[in-house]
Amino acid sequence: MRKIVSIVIGAALVLAALPALAQDKVITMSTTTSTEASGLLDFLLPEFLKDTGITVRVMSKGTGAALKDGMDGNADVVFVHDVAREEQFVAEGYGTKRYYVMYNDFIIVGPESDPAGIKDAPNSAEAMKRIAAAKAPFVSRGDDSGTHSRERQLWEATGLALTDAKSPQDADGWYFSIGQGMGEALIFAEEKEGYVLADRGTYLQYKFGRTQPYDLVVVYEGDDMLKNPYGVIPVNPEKHPHVKFDLADTFAQWLVSERGQQVIADYQLHDQPLFFPDAK
């Protein structure tokens, strides 16, 4: 009898320990929608798993929410694109170090007819100014994401009179702050025949990855203000002792290693390279 009891207890202990063992090599990453929507993570994470045996669980949301996840200890690592806020995140002790990983670029997409005539604008601020002057429909993410922050910076660079939130008045009937993701914003712009600031990856995915073709075209691109750098930051274990810092740091180190950078450079979306390695 005693033997049976001890076997049962032993088996129960082994069973209880199994999920814990399986869980050991899993980290949670909060990231921006663009890394996931562009398909990069589906390409990158299996390679990382092959090299290190670490599984990464991805939660994709706006950069603001992703950083908030890091601050609250709901993620082990964040992978986002808003340098100013990322540096603040590290300065406030929530993250240990910001690693430069890669960059891609923002583009202004809109209807082919280009009603505001921004195609030949000398710079992106001028392009935004022309959109505002023409009161052409403009769709703003309005969700505190990295793309939304960049849009606010562009508006600020125009020198137009802006509201507290550093974007044009919302009620004018041309500026739509929709508080949704990049994909929804692109669909919205398509419906309203308006302009939208987009990351190239999501745009390509929506332009060529859909069964139904899509009217939006790239109307303005290639300005320093439109460069979009991504950084990865492991969450500081001093703030949140439960985070899996070692595994998270392994992930960050791998991304900036020669191998990780090569994987990023190899990734193509609809035959176009999308992210450019940028480790320093």
């Binding site: 950083l67 969700d143 739509f176 508080g179 949704q180 919205f188 419906e191």
Partner: protein
């Protein structure tokens, strides 16, 4: 825990300070819910009434369809109406997509079966002899019908209040057809989803409190109506 209490305290401060952005969101929510309930009632109450009192071929099929439509998910309605209102859709030229009107259209489709079936149930409960008595007392068909409707009024009112409660808490249609435009189609539920996405909680909690308060008022009203209804029997 600290985090939650702090959010709640901040939320009450926001409600108390009459924050204009928050109150506009509440206004949009009440506006679309009010009009969708009114329209659904104008269509749904007579529909439910007719199904209850008339005998016709296929009555069972109609009832089955209505009951099935009770379970229609909001995203399905959102998709369907979107396909019609999209620029490439049949009604695209009307420019209704991403306006409060689009939300109202979707929400009417959502609650019309509710109002109709609950009206039907309320009217069916009135004894058929009631109508016949009215007719023998010299009422014409319309007057007899009105007499039955009068008798079922509390049940019908309860159906309408329940429908309002359903639309004000609804998010799928408001997001897909309204588009969550700040200062135009942003409702309480879509604003809460956005604030959560942004990782900000104060406005979301404040709106949650207002939404619960509205639901509470609706349910108290429902209780009062049902209480009266019970007394009447």
């Amino acid at each position: 825990m600290d985090f939650l209490t702090q959010s709640i305290i901040e939320a009450f401060r926001m409600i108390w300070s009459l924050d204009p952005e928050m109150y506009f969101i509440v206004y949009v929510s009440l506006y679309v819910s009010f009009f969708s309930t009114i329209i659904a009632s104008i269509l749904g109450v007579p529909l439910g009434f007719l199904i209850a009192v008339k005998q016709f071929r296929g009555k069972r099929a109609v009832i089955t369809i209505l009951n099935t439509m009770l379970a229609l998910p909001t995203v399905v309605i959102g998709l369907l109406v979107y396909a019609f209102l999209s620029r490439r859709g049949m009604l695209g030229h009307l420019g209704l997509l991403y306006t409060p009107k689009a939300i109202i259209i979707g929400q009417v489709i959502l609650i019309l079966p509710w109002v109709a079936t609950f009206t039907m149930a309320a009217v069916s409960r009135i004894d058929e002899r009631y109508r016949r008595t009215a007719l023998t007392l010299g009422a014409n068909a319309l007057q007899a019908a009105l007499a039955v409707a009068r008798e079922a009024r509390f049940g019908i009112l309860a159906a309408i209040i329940a429908a309002f409660g359903r639309v004000i808490a609804e998010i799928g249609i408001a997001m897909m057809l309204g588009g969550n435009i700040k200062g135009f189609t942003r409702t309480m539920t879509t604003a809460m989803a956005l604030e959560h996405n942004k990782g900000e909680f104060v406005l979301a909690v404040a709106l949650g409190i207002v939404l619960l308060a509205v639901s509470l008022i609706m349910n108290v009203a429902l209780q009062l109506v049902q209480g009266k209804y019970g007394d009447n029997r």
